[in-house]
Structures are given as structure tokens and as C-alpha cells.
Symmetry: C2
Subunit: 391 residues, 2 copies
């Protein structure tokens, strides 16, 4: 990662609003000093949290322009009796303090579903947050949105060289309930490149499809998945291809960081499906392997149990010819054209047990499409975290 | 469960063939003394094990008639280089010893995928198995097919009263890689009722759809799922409705036993979706809740974290109105019409922690369809078992 520099014209701050009972910093604020194009990709879960509903409304009402994002951890504001009002009041309070329109404020929440929220808690913490706004505080915001994440997640790209190059800065939180169908839990990306709202939305959706939509921790799609991208144009126009590349690289890095920091994870698992007829087939197969608890527990145990990989692929619903399928584990061919290959199982087991990254490749021999997908191993720690998440 | 009596005209035996390295009994033989109608339901996994392919072929060649089932644990005979030959030779050896046609022998295997098999191992153990055949040894067969199961699974129904009532006896093995889309891992059902092959197949498929297809341990569909039903008519004809009921009850009991004995399971989880528009919608929702690792770890931890239930339903792909959905956990309404209900969380937590069975109900308020689905909690023990399954 390059040295991170905030895109021009963005301010950040984070404070403890008391949503989290442990007193940790739990409220982040991101402000663009000038009107910014805004793009959003949200959860496909039928049960959408109040902040997701508000973001969709505000993006439509604001014609794809926004000025601020308010994000909290500690409570998902989903299935909360007064949830709509909490989100509304948060947006109105921020708008008033920043002297902008409420429809230009986006709101995002993460935490437990179904807990009540005090309506005044976030609004009454916002003045402190506004006071502390600065161009340097982006890492504090990345920390404020953490739940079971073990580290903040930031990614940065400069588009070009020299002091005038436009910048893209992204941050995200992940950990559990990660199986984004549209975006990941919470991710915010800021750029000082200029891009009209429609174009920004198109670039954002395309990048999300190839990054956040290709990771999984546990196959559970959250009710709060939110990706917001703000482009305020402070660095002027940038060629579309260059902006698209920077956005995808930043989102890809964040997605990888989320997979590597999945709840209880000790290993990052890179799954690549090659030789597919088309990308959709490859993605279905990769997703099925990534979501198989048996594949993920075998990897946790350093067991080259490739039969589970083949079985997960077979159960995916995608049609392929098992007699042409090969499996390669950390560079070792373990299954060639549907049957066991000759390999040193003990040596491979030892190397898997030590590896921090495990490469799983499935070759189909049917075409030229290829897809990469990321997940993590499934350990006893995942169970410990989630059996007592609320205590 | 009633006192189990083998259906008339069936013989059973089990021996140690050496497929399992620990020397445990690993080979089961079931023989009908007279020609029996045979019905089969097999895995939908694109990667089907050699015994599954053989069963499909033999059922077609034998026009739905069969005389024997040979089943082994310790090796799934899937993606095994000489797998087809092993299955063929097993059937031929059994046919020769029993003086029947090879196409009237069905073969089933369970265990690790991709391990080589010695072609002579099962054929050379079969003479001992044939010698020991008896009407009483059914429990030994149920034990021979166990892998990580902690107990043998048997179910029995008499169709009517008195000594002449026709009988249905079923046995199954489950434990892991359980997410049957057609049937469960291995299940054999024997009846002395008479039923023509086509009718038996119809009744079998219908019963499997409502029993084995409505359980899940880990969402992984095995390559070896096999359900075989043999009806030898030794007790004469039985009314179709009565036979259908007995088959469904026996399969339902086996399915429940598989869910309760899932790898690492401490609790049986009964999921009921009510008030659905139709059965397909209800089943999609119930399956999604049953497959959510977050729901299952919360239940393992005795945590009434119902937000995860609602979220899993929302991510299922089935459309429903969250604002009309309610959730009831062990009789306590925790979510009413989409938002948190007022309930004593600590008391419910304590009762969940102690319960051996947890009832999850999702009410949709959209129609009259209802579906029951069974799964188990997800514990650290599941991870321990599967991180080192082969060692």
C-alpha cells in the first residue's frame, strides 16, 4: 500500500457516541467540502436496515449528489421499532450542523440487529464530531466502524504521479455476516476525481461486482451491506479507464482485507476457477467452494482433502464435466481429470498447515473464462465469537 | 419407536472388510429372499460417486427390481481412479454368491472422497457376510455404515395391528456433508408390503422430498447420497395411503435422527415456516435459516439473537414482506411484524442454553402453506471433527 493521502476536499472525524456499551469510539463522520457525486450499492437482503432505506431515498432525492456520511457501529438499526426515525434524525442533525440539505447526508450502521436505539444518542454526539473534522482523521473513521474486525481496513491509490495526481481512498469493515451480493458490510470510498453521478454509479457497480461480490466469510448476507462512493472533483477530471482501475484496485484491496480478517480466520483462501465456459459459471463454482464449511474446516486443519472441493463444486448447481476437472492446491495437482493424482500428501499437509495463504485452483477445461474469489478458513474461534456475540 | 421387527423375507449381515483402517465393521449386506421392487433417490451433485452411477444403471437394467444392497463405510469410492471397476466387481461377487443377477445388486459407499480402493477387498469379504446373513442383524448393518455418526439410526413402522401386519424398516447414516437435495447420505428402507416398481418410486420420491430433503447439517451436498427402498411383497398388498404414510414416517424419523446427530451437534433445531404463500416459498426460507452459520452458532451459545434468523430469511432469495414477519423462539415471540418484541431476554437465553431441542418459528402472514425443516446447532466440535477428518 502506498502512503495514504486523503483525497482533496474531504474531512473526517470519529467520536464515542455511546452506542457501544464499552465506550469505544463508535461514530464516524465523512464530509466533502464541496458537492460530490455519490454512488451506492446496497444489500440484496429482503430485510434491509433503516439506514439502507434512507440512503436509497436520499440518493434518489439528491439526484446522485451527497456531502456527508454518518456511520456508527454497535447497533445495526435493523428491525428496530424506531429505526426509521433514528436514521432520519441523524441525517437532519448532521445537515443542520454542516449547513447542507438532509437529502445530501447518507447514513450507515453496523452491529446487532433488533436492539432499540436512543433517538438522541447520535444527534447529540454529532456536534463534537463536526468540531473535530480534519483531513487526517480517516483511520479513526475506519476504526469507528469496526465490530469484530481485528484491524482497520484502508486502501489508497493515486491516479498518476506527482503532487497533482487525483486520489482514491477507501475504508471498510467486515468480519462476520459477510457474503455480499451487492456490496460488503460497510465500505466508503472517497475520490477527488470528477465523475458525473451516473458514470460514478456505473463504475462503482462494476467494481463491486468483481471485488466485494467475490468474497465470503460465512455465506450470510447482512441486512446492512452498504458501499458508498463520493467523488467531489477537487482534483479535476480523470480518464474513465484510470478512475475505473483505481476504484477497482481500492475495492479489491478492501475486499481482500475483509476476507483475510474474517471472524476467527487464520488463513486467507484464494480460489480461482479457470477454463470455464463463461464468468457466471466460474463465479457460481468459486462461490460454492468458498461457502463450503467442509472445505474451510479442512483448510483450517491443514488437510489436503480435495474431495470436498470437488464435491462443493458438484453441488453448486453449475453444470460441468467432472471427468475434465482438475484441482490444484498451493501449486500441487491433487486431482487430475476427475480422479486422484499422485502427490505427497504429508508434505502438502505440512505446507498447508504453515501457510497464511492457501491457493485453490479448479481447472474445468471447458473454455477461457476465469474468476477469482476470496474467503478464509473456518476455525473454532468463529464459533466462539458467534456463540456469544452479544455478551 | 415400536419394537423393531425385520420385514419378512429380508436378511442382514455385517463384517469387517478392512476398508476402514481401524478394523471396525465396515461392510453391510442386505438381501431379499425373493424379488423385490426397488426405488432409488440419489444425489443431485454433478460429481456422483461410482456406486451411485452403478445403482442408476442397475435400477434401469433391472426394470426396478433388486435383490441385494452392499454398503461400505471408510471410502466413498468417488473420484477414485478404479472406482467404476470396484463397484462392478462388488456387485458381481455378491450376485455370484447369492446366485442372482449382477443387475439386481445395488452398491453404496460412504467415507473419504478420492482415496484409492483395493479391488479385491470387498469381494473377498463377501463370502463371510453371506454366511452370516440373518433376519436379526439389521442393527449391525446400521452400525457398519456409520462414519462420524455417534449412534446407529433405525426406524420401524407396522402397517396395521397383529402378527400379520406388513412392516417397514429403515436405516440411515448421516453426520456431515448433509444437505440432501434428493436423499440423505445413505438410507435403506425395507418393506414386506407389495408395491409395483413405478408406484414404489413415486411414493419414495414423495416421502424423501418431505423428509430427507428437509434436513441440513452443514449445507454440503454429498457425492454419495443414496436412498434405496426395497419392497418384496412377502406380506402381500397394502393400501397405497397406508404404505405412503409408513414410508414417510420411517424416513421422517431417520431424517430427524440424522439432524440430531449432526457432527458436533448438541441441539436439534426444528424450524417451521408458517403462513407462507406456498410450500416452495416456505421451504426456501426454512432452508436458508437452517443453513445460516450465524443462526446455528447463536443457538449453540443459547443466544436469542433472532435478528440473524430474520436476516437469513431475508437473504434467502424468497420474497416476503418483513413488516408482516414474526419470529417465535421456543414459544416466545421475539419479533412481531418486523420489529423487536418485548420479552425477557435473559430468561429465554437460559432456557435456550438448557434445551436439547430448539423451536424456531417464522410466521409470514401471507398465506396458509407451512413447512418443517430440521437442522442442528453449529459447535466448536464440528470444526474439530472436520479439521482433522482424515487423521
Amino acid at each position: 500500500m502506498n502512503l495514504i493521502q486523503a483525497p482533496r476536499g474531504f474531512l473526517f472525524s470519529a467520536v464515542a457516541a455511546g452506542v457501544r456499551k464499552d465506550g469505544r469510539i463508535d461514530l464516524g463522520l465523512i464530509v466533502s467540502e464541496r458537492p460530490a457525486s455519490a454512488a451506492g450499492v446496497f444489500t440484496t437482503n429482503r430485510v434491509a436496515a433503516a439506514p439502507v432505506l434512507l440512503c436509497r431515498r436520499h440518493l434518489a432525492a439528491g439526484r446522485g449528489m451527497a456531502r456527508a456520511i454518518v456511520a456508527n457501529s454497535g447497533n445495526a438499526n435493523c428491525a428496530t421499532p424506531n429505526g426509521g426515525r433514528v436514521a432520519e434524525r441523524t441525517a437532519r442533525a448532521a445537515a443542520q450542523l454542516l449547513n447542507i440539505e438532509p437529502r445530501h447526508v447518507l447514513v450507515a450502521s453496523t452491529g446487532v440487529i433488533g436492539l432499540p436505539m436512543l433517538e438522541e444518542q447520535i444527534p447529540s454526539a454529532l456536534p463534537r464530531a463536526v468540531e473535530r473534522l480534519s483531513p487526517e482523521s480517516f483511520e479513526e473513521v475506519a476504526r469507528a466502524i469496526m465490530t469484530t474486525d481485528t484491524r482497520p481496513k484502508l486502501a489508497f491509490r493515486a491516479m498518476g504521479r506527482g503532487p497533482r495526481a487525483a486520489r482514491v481512498l477507501g475504508m471498510a469493515k467486515g468480519a462476520g455476516m459477510i457474503h455480499p451480493r451487492m456490496a460488503t458490510m460497510l465500505a466508503f470510498v472517497m475520490t477527488d476525481a470528477a465523475a458525473a453521478p451516473a458514470r460514478l454509479q456505473r463504475l462503482t457497480a462494476a467494481a463491486a461486482a468483481r471485488t466485494f461480490n467475490r468474497i465470503s466469510v460465512d455465506g450470510d448476507t447482512s441486512t446492512n451491506d452498504t458501499l458508498c462512493v463520493l467523488a467531489n472533483g477537487a482534483a479535476g477530471p480523470v480518464a474513465e479507464a484510470r478512475l475505473a482501475k483505481a476504484l477497482e484496485e481500492v475495492m479489491g484491496e478492501l475486499a481482500l482485507a475483509i476476507a483475510a480478517d474474517g471472524e476467527g480466520a487464520r488463513k486467507l483462501v484464494k480460489i480461482e476457477v479457470r477454463g470455464a465456459r463463461n464468468e457466471a459459471q466460474a463465479e457460481t463454482l468459486a462461490r460454492a467452494i468458498a461457502n463450503s464449511p467442509l472445505v474451510k474446516t479442512a483448510i483450517a486443519g491443514g488437510d489436503p482433502n480435495w474431495g470436498r472441493i470437488l464435491s462443493a463444486a458438484g453441488a453448486s448447481g453449475a453444470s460441468f464435466d467432472p471427468a475434465r476437472a482438475s484441482v490444484i492446491l498451493n501449486g500441487v495437482t491433487v486431482c487430475r481429470r476427475g480422479v486422484a493424482a499422485d502427490f505427497d500428501e504429508e508434505a502438502l499437509g505440512r505446507s498447508l498447515a504453515q501457510a497464511r495463504e492457501v491457493d485453490v485452483r479448479l481447472l474445468l477445461g471447458a473454455g477461457r473464462a476465469r474468476v477469482r474469489f476470496h474467503t478464509c478458513d473456518l476455525t473454532e474461534e468463529y464459533i466462539r465469537i458467534n456463540a456469544s456475540y452479544r455478551t
